[in-house]
């Protein structure tokens, strides 16, 4: 697996719906177009939530999603790119 470049990390671990999306959305407004936000979440629903967000919003795209094990806990990692 090739590593994905990102410009900032948002730690949303331990937060539940709808906070990972809300925080990611707020974080991404501070990014420049083209930059990528990496989001760490433990909420299983966030996987589909980020897909839904990418479908609805015109100014972002979901680059990649993955699961990692951090500190013995399954973490869902989302890479979101700001487009416009």
């Amino acid at each position: 697996m090739t590593a994905i470049n990102f410009d900032r990390v948002l730690d949303a671990r331990g937060l539940s719906c709808p906070l990972p999306i809300i925080n990611a959305r707020q974080e991404i407004t501070t990014l420049e177009p083209g930059q990528v936000l990496k989001v760490l979440a433990t909420d299983r629903g966030s996987v589909k939530d980020f897909q839904g967000w990418a479908k609805t919003a015109k100014n972002i795209s979901l680059v990649s999603q993955a699961t990692e094990v951090i500190d013995g806990k399954e973490v869902y990692v989302h890479y979101v790119q700001k487009i416009g």
């Binding site: 331990g14 937060l15 539940s16 719906c17 709808p18 906070l19 999306i21 809300i22 959305r25 707020q26 839904g52 967000w53 609805t56 919003a57």
Partner: protein, 207 residues
């Protein structure tokens, strides 16, 4: 040999041909086509006006903790997705916007209503398994342990995200709820306020 009486169809064809000749010489659309085009354009403009905006409207009729919580989660989620969100609070839903209990200056039924209604969000019951408030406390404890935002935090978050909260004036009046019993910064509205937003919404919910 030309027939003496032309059929209607023949007349139409002839007049169309005439129009075409005219238009070719003057470089303009034939009158009846231009007219038709204008009608189509007008219809299109009308339809475009009716297209939904990026908007979500929620009617909060219930004053149950679980239902109000769900309404606020959907509303703040929609706001995060870039939708303009309006929430309309009517009847028991108004209890979710209360911050204190006032009985002074109220008539008997209004006083009874005030005494029996939740005075703030911490007193809201559960829609199921309330058991005189124990159920609601249990749910709050469970939510806290799982690090889920409380209703109060969700309301604050929704307002931060620009969700518009509208209190229904008619039901406020009927239930004898005074303005000072409600949280600040609310819009006051009626059915037209709701419909004005709902007609332009992609999603409309009744909770």
């Amino acid at each position: 040999m030309e027939p003496l009486v032309k059929t209607e169809r023949e007349q139409v064809v002839e007049s169309t041909l005439d129009d075409n000749e005219e238009s070719v010489s003057s470089g303009q659309l034939p009158a009846h086509i231009a007219e038709r085009l204008a009608a189509v354009e007008q219809k299109l403009a009308e339809l475009e006006e009716r297209l939904p905006e990026d908007r979500v409207s929620v009617v909060v009729f219930s004053g149950d903790l679980d239902r109000v919580l769900a309404a606020f989660i959907i509303a703040s989620g929609a706001a995060a997705l870039g939708q303009q969100v309006s929430m309309f609070f009517t009847f028991w839903g108004l209890n979710a916007l209360r911050r204190k209990k006032v009985t002074e200056g109220k008539e008997l039924f209004e006083k009874l209503m005030a005494l029996m209604s939740p005075a703030n969000t911490h007193e809201l019951p559960l829609s199921q398994m309330n058991f005189f408030g124990i159920g609601a406390k249990m749910l709050r404890a469970m939510m806290k342990r799982k690090q889920i935002n409380s209703l109060e935090e969700m309301i604050a978050l929704a307002r931060q995200l620009g969700v518009r909260l509208v209190a229904c004036e008619m039901s406020r009046d009927v239930m004898g709820i005074k303005d000072e019993e409600l949280i600040e910064g609310l819009d006051i509205g009626g059915v037209a306020t709701f419909l004005g937003d709902a007609l332009k919404s992609r999603v409309t919910l009744f909770v």
